[in-house]
């Protein structure tokens, strides 16, 4: 466990459960997170739970799920005002409520289960209303065979959600509650509250993990067009890249992506948007867990072909002529500044503290800054030379 005794205005608690990935399915894990905060028994219904947490200064826990190699992490984040703003007793009430709902739960309510399942299915339907996100999901599915983008909420497939049962949910809860657990507390709490928190469960020391991102299989189509009712068109161009976290190629690829389309100084922004006025929104991103580079642009329907040609020409030009020292410097500075800002953000502090303890050097700010500084222009150019934006998806109203 880690206890950061400081003068924060709100105290934060982060509890991490680590399960083996095969112990469960994605849909159950996601639904389970929701179900932990619903009806406990006849005496405490969902609405009362919501009211209790709202009365206790909007302290309803937030539950995150994420995959890490062959493990699955469920994180429960609880926040409450410090003693400057509320009484110690109210802080204690929050911890007691979390204990009853999460750590000492005996059952789940079937009506809530049906409601939550329905909400999940509707959430999948609603993905379409955010056209950029929908396009991104479609692209990754069509271009590389990924069913869900890993950085997205992990709803699971429609089929998996429909087939979930109460028995399965209970098994999933057993897996969670028996998992290894870690805890981080950020902010001063009185000894009595500290004891209450530590009595929630037995917490293990945080052990550092080895970082290995596995290369994923490449498959399916090269070009696809999808019709959707909209005024503009969306272009997605992408490819697998020859980079592997956490080695040097990972950092070189981040710099390459920043130079191509990561900022207002990037080639895509200055050439496609500012010089040719072809697009208002254009950017590129590097998804390191998927080893994928993606360029996204919103353009007029009549400008799709012209924009794709110009983007390809721009990449080709970078391959032929390389990048400038100034571009390298701006990109490096930009990435380093982002890292420093992240490290200083009070609202991210608890997550960064845990990640550093769990993932080790790869989350260490000084290590990352050093690596960014050490990357040469040749290493970045090498990443760009290997890049082929051969997979493409166009979404427009036809």
């Amino acid at each position: 466990m880690i206890y950061l005794d400081n003068k924060r205005k709100n105290v934060e608690i982060l509890i991490t459960f680590i399960e083996n990935d095969h112990s469960d399915t994605r849909a159950y894990r996601f639904l389970r997170s929701k179900m932990l905060l619903t009806t406990l028994d006849e005496t405490l219904k969902t609405q009362e739970i919501e009211k209790k947490f709202a009365y206790l200064y909007e302290s309803m826990p937030t539950i995150y799920t994420q995959k890490y190699q062959d493990k699955h992490l469920t994180q429960i984040y609880i926040q409450m005002p410090s003693e400057n703003f509320i009484e110690r007793k109210q802080q204690g009430d929050i911890i007691d409520l979390v204990k009853r709902l999460v750590f000492m739960r005996k059952s789940f309510n079937e009506t809530d289960f049906i409601v939550e399942k329905k909400k999940l299915l509707q959430a999948i339907d609603n993905i379409k209303s955010d056209k950029f996100l929908y396009g991104e999901q479609l692209f990754l599915k069509f271009a590389f065979g990924y069913k869900n983008l890993e950085s997205m909420p992990m709803y699971g497939s429609r089929k998996a959600i429909k087939h979930m049962t109460m028995d399965g949910l209970h098994q999933s809860y057993e897996s969670l509650i028996n998992a290894q657990k870690h805890i981080v507390i950020n902010g001063y709490v009185h000894d009595s509250i500290y004891q209450k928190i530590m009595n929630l469960s037995s917490f293990q020391p945080i052990e550092k993990q080895e970082i290995i991102y596995k290369q994923r299989p490449v498959k399916v189509f090269k070009e696809k067009q999808v019709s959707l009712k909209m005024n503009q068109a969306l272009i997605y161009l992408g490819c697998h890249v020859d980079a592997k976290a956490p080695d040097r190629t990972f950092f070189a690829m981040h710099i390459a992506s920043s130079i191509i389309g990561g900022s207002s100084a990037s080639r895509l922004f200055t050439i496609i948007r500012e010089k040719y006025n072809l697009s208002y929104y254009i950017s590129s991103g590097y998804y390191h867990t998927l080893n994928t580079m993606l360029v996204v642009a919103s353009v007029e329907r009549s400008s799709v072909d012209e924009t794709i040609e110009k983007i390809e020409a721009l990449i080709e030009d970078m391959k032929q002529k390389g990048i400038t020292d100034k571009e390298l410097l701006i990109a490096k500075n930009e990435i380093k500044n982002q890292l420093i800002k992240q490290a200083e953000r009070e609202d991210k502090h608890i997550f960064l503290t845990y990640n550093l303890a769990f993932y080790g050097d790869f989350e260490n700010i000084d290590y990352k800054l050093h690596m960014i500084d050490s990357i040469s222009i040749a290493e970045v150019e090498d990443m760009i030379k290997k890049m082929k934006l051969e997979r493409r998806l166009v979404i427009k109203d036809v």
Partner: protein, 426 residues
């Protein structure tokens, strides 16, 4: 030097300075920050402010001019784009226009003074030509078309269009593809001269700040600038009737989306001076009656009638709205339940829930304040509406249940408009 204001409950200082040229500076220094500084410069001129007087002359500007000016201010007299220099100084810059203000922001982990000097220089040196205005028009046109694909924005704009006869709120923040064609360099200079002066700028700085260096810079800046008269925004009186009470469209939606807007009388000039005292009780009433802990919300969710329900209150100069956004699988059932509920709304507002929502608001406020960009953003946006964000916890204590009850009782008396986006039948 700066005036130092201590807030005991937060154990924080705010450093304040008003320059002779009118620039209003507030520093929310965070000692744990060693490198990152965050800057937000607020200009209380937004998309609603198209009708105004300045130096005894009255102006009516095209819709979207505030947003257009926000784009154009990045054009530097040497023909360069101001972003280039921000990049050089390793500052991440951006800007945004809202209905009642425009703000320019940057953050950096390096020297604060260089990009701050550049930001003020950018604002002090407007450079509008026929060519660069025409070029920007094309970019903004693309931006507007892109936002036309955002269903939520489209639904909201449609609602406002059906509610207001002439208030500029009926136009989108960015204007329309047609309205921006009327924006020329002369008009941009008119707005600039009336509203972009130092006397209408509020500079909020947070994070790592060297106060001595900052003070030195501001003193030098002040010596080179003078005070100028700011324009006064006008609003034509608007009656409280709505144009259309109901409107329905076929759209590319999976579930039916509804917006309901109640047209409230706007706050008068005196009320606007203490606006937060009027708006916060309304927010609390809506949260009690329609928030996720309300019995109305819970029953609609449990019966599978809605999957999303949000209620909010917005106050602008000359306009005030209570609006509801709903995603429903059964439009008629929802509207029936909603109408019945609003008829007796005050019966569902009780003192226990009132205490609960006040606690909840304090929790949310403290949580948001841990993110520095939110903290200075909230501080600045409240400041230009005459409210000190550090008084928020005290204000929550002052709000009385009777006000909440009256607001609930009165809602049904205002005219309203409903707009529905539904999918085509197969």
């Amino acid at each position: 030097m700066f005036e130092k204001i201590y807030y005991k409950q937060f154990d924080e200082f705010v450093y304040h300075k008003k320059l002779h040229c009118g620039l209003d500076v507030h520093v929310l220094k965070v000692d744990s920050f060693k490198f990152s500084s965050y800057v937000q410069l607020f200009i209380p001129y937004g998309s609603n402010d198209t009708y105004y007087t300045h130096l005894d002359k009255t102006y009516v500007q095209p819709a979207g001019i505030a947003h257009f000016l926000e784009h154009m201010i990045f054009a530097m007299p040497d023909g360069s784009d101001a972003f280039e220099k921000f990049d050089e100084y390793e500052a991440d810059a951006n800007a945004m226009t809202t209905r009642h203000y425009t703000k320019y922001v940057f953050n950096t982990t390096k020297d604060l003074i260089k990009p701050l000097n550049h930001l003020l220089n950018m604002l002090d040196t407007p450079y509008f030509t026929d060519e660069n205005v025409k070029k920007e028009e094309k970019i903004i046109e693309k931006e507007l078309i892109m936002y036309m694909d955002e269903l939520e924005d489209k639904l909201y704009n449609k609602l406002l269009e059906n509610m207001y006869h002439k208030h500029p709120i009926k136009e989108d923040i960015g204007g329309t593809v047609q309205s921006i064609k009327a924006i020329k360099k002369e008009k941009l200079y008119e707005v600039y001269n009336a509203f972009y002066q130092n006397s209408n700028r509020h500079l909020i700085i947070g994070g790592a700040v060297d106060l001595e260096k900052l003070n030195e810079f501001l003193t030098q800046y002040d010596d080179k600038h003078t005070f100028s008269e700011v324009g006064k925004v006008l609003y034509e009186p608007e009656d409280l009737s709505v144009i259309k009470t109901y409107d329905e469209y076929i759209e590319d939606v999976q579930t039916t989306q509804i917006m309901i807007g109640y047209k409230l009388p706007p706050l008068n000039e005196d009320e606007l001076k203490i606006e937060k005292y009027y708006t916060l009780p309304y927010h609390i009433m809506l949260e009690i009656a329609f928030g996720k802990t309300s019995s109305f919300y819970q029953s609609l969710m449990n019966d599978g009638i809605v999957t999303y329900l949000n209620a909010s209150h917005r106050s602008y100069n000359g306009a005030r709205i209570v609006e509801f956004t709903v995603h429903t699988s059964n439009k008629n059932a929802f509207l029936k339940r909603f109408d019945d509920y609003v008829q007796g709304l005050e019966q569902d507002v009780n003192i226990e829930d009132f205490a609960m929502i006040k606690n909840s608001y304090l929790g949310v406020y403290l949580k948001n304040a841990t993110k520095i960009s939110n903290k200075i953003g909230t501080y600045g946006s409240m400041l230009i509406r005459n409210f000190d964000a550090y008084q928020y916890a005290d204000l929550l204590k002052e709000i009385k249940f009777d006000d909440i009850y009256e607001h609930a009782k009165n809602l049904r008396n205002y005219n309203r408009s409903v707009v529905v986006f539904k999918k085509a039948k197969r």
